[in-house]
């Protein structure tokens, strides 16, 4: 199989402050990939830079061997929940329908077949009973499932999810990871920005550990070793060390 993602010497800064430097890694297709790192390590920034949503200072990104602008319609992105206006007048089904837009092109409206497909995607995430609800009426986990359904509706090859498990219930989290694994088994690639280290081994095949630069990238069991973890999570580790040493 070809490379799903090829990042070469990527640098990103905000107003002159270097956020990411010397970022290079290659990920294969058909893998479920976690992006982990401490707070402020640039996980979301990495995802946005790979997607071309923020300017890069330098470096190349190829997705499925192509520049991003050639494959946009084949890339589904689920942004952090916090960025969305939950009072927007849109129903759950219409939110999922947005996923069909890239394939429609300019001036064309979604038709009945698109609505049926969107409904089918809602069924996959178990949210079909909420089709007519306004999106703000859902719980955090339900909202995240709807956004995954939207990504499914796009029939993408590569999925990018930014912190999908923040503030959601256990059932939704399990369902989302189950669907991502199914997608992986179909040969699709999924990247997930994630902050909870405890489940990394159950969830992901590959891991990208970030802290301003790439600390490690590759199969979970190879990358998730004490040296890399210590390097990435220095602050937290020193805190643990201090706690262990401290008399109880």
């Amino acid at each position: 199989m070809g490379h799903a993602i090829d990042v070469n010497d990527l640098y990103v800064s905000y107003y002159g402050k270097q956020v990411l430097k010397k970022v290079s890694f290659t990920m294969e297709q058909g893998r479920l990939i976690g992006i982990v790192g401490p707070n402020g390590a640039g996980k979301s920034t990495l995802m946005k830079a790979v997607l071309g949503l923020i300017p890069r200072d330098r470096g190349n990104v190829l997705i499925d061997g192509q520049p991003i602008k050639n494959v946009r319609s084949k890339i589904a992105y689920v942004p952090q929940r916090a960025t969305i206006d939950w009072d927007f007048p849109i129903t759950v089904l219409d939110t999922v329908l947005l996923g069909t837009y890239p394939s429609l092109g300019l001036f064309k409206r979604p038709k009945k077949e698109h609505r049926e497909w969107a409904y089918h995607c809602l069924e996959k995430v178990g949210m079909e009973h909420f089709a007519k609800n306004q999106i703000g009426e859902l719980s955090g986990g339900q909202q995240q499932r709807v956004f995954l359904a939207r990504a499914l509706a796009q029939k993408a090859d590569t999925f990018f999810l930014d912190e999908p498990f923040v503030g959601i219930d256990v059932t939704s989290e399990a369902l989302i990871i189950k669907i991502l694994k199914e997608l992986r088994d179909e040969g699709k690639t999924a990247l997930v920005v994630h902050h909870d280290l405890t489940k990394v081994k159950d969830y992901f095949d590959d891991l990208i550990i970030v802290n301003g630069e790439i600390i490690g990238a590759g199969a979970v069991e190879k990358v998730m070793v004490p040296e890399t973890m210590k390097k990435a999570f220095k602050a937290q580790f020193s805190l643990w060390d201090a706690m262990e040493v401290a008399p109880s």
């Binding site: 997607l51 946009r72 942004p79 927007f88 007048p89 849109i90 947005l98 300019l106």
Partner: protein
């Protein structure tokens, strides 16, 4: 009421006034829905004020005020964007700075312009004096705005709802923003005669905000907003004619009345039902 209908049949100026204000009501309602959802209500106010120097210059140069107004409307939109992006000054502040400056220039220029142009009628509108050319221009603007919104409905929806997703789809958010600013300027110009510069913003945001309280779907919100805009225009015109009130003010107050009704009694979001539901819930727990 009957005499009003008879008068409409009888007087051409009244027909023109009615036709123009209904179109203004519809296009303001449609565009206003996007304006309020994008959090740009203040921007609507700014653009409408900032066209004043354009109107004055057009009078001086003897050209249709349409051109001057559109030029200054766009300059304002770009100026605001430029200041916001290139300094730490926040968006609402740069809006305030830019539009008040243009408005001030406009007031001075109007004074210098041909004395027959009446500042009051530009500021407050005078729908009963609509000329044929104004009416056709309003109609043309109306057609352009409705077609534009219709054609780009999908793109407007995505970029308004979730700009990050829109960017990931490869949609040009900035271009869409300035495209809306162009439409906003056109609508402002079209509304000058009906409600005037000062009150255009009410036509843009009040019917849209009312519709926002009544539905959970954008397409329906736009429809309700357009209907309320047109209805307010007709009712306001009637009141204005019968009681000899200024037309713009009358129309705006009708939109306000609709808003108050929706604010109190909207099935889902009205405060009356919300209070009742809350009370019922509390009693059930006791």
């Amino acid at each position: 009421m009957m005499s009003f209908i008879q008068d409409i049949q009888q007087y051409e100026f009244l027909q023109k006034a009615l036709f123009t204000s209904v179109i203004v009501g519809i296009i303001c309602g449609v565009l206003g829905s996007f304006i309020i959802l994008r959090g740009m209500s203040l921007m609507g106010d700014a653009i409408s004020h900032a066209v004043l120097p354009g109107v004055a210059l057009s009078y001086m140069m003897g050209i249709n005020y349409f051109y001057g107004a559109v030029t200054f409307g766009l300059m304002t939109a770009f100026g605001i964007g430029f200041i916001t992006q290139n300094s730490r000054v926040k968006n609402d502040t740069s809006i305030g700075i830019v539009f008040s400056a243009f408005f001030a220039i406009g007031i001075i220029l109007i004074g210098k312009a041909n004395t027959s142009t009446d500042l009051t009628s530009i500021l407050f509108g005078n729908v009963l004096s609509v000329r044929d050319s104004d009416m056709w221009m309003t109609l043309a603007v109306g057609v352009v705005v409705l077609i534009a919104v219709g054609l780009f409905y999908k793109e407007l929806l995505v970029s308004t709802f979730d700009p990050t997703l829109a960017a990931a789809y490869g949609l040009p958010n900035k271009l869409i923003h300035y495209f809306l600013m162009v439409l906003l300027t056109l609508v402002t110009v079209a509304s000058l005669q009906t409600v005037g510069i000062i009150l255009v913003v009410a036509m843009l945001i009040t019917p849209a905000a009312t519709a926002y309280l009544l539905t959970n779907r954008l397409s329906i919100m736009i429809t309700i907003s357009a209907i309320l805009g047109a209805l307010s225009a007709v009712t306001g015109l009637y009141i204005s004619f019968v009681y000899n009130w200024p037309s713009g003010a009358a129309i705006v107050l009708v939109t306000t009345s609709f808003f108050i009704v929706a604010f109190l009694f909207s099935p889902k979001h009205g405060i009356v039902w919300r209070q009742l539901r809350a009370r019922k819930h509390k009693t059930a727990l006791q």
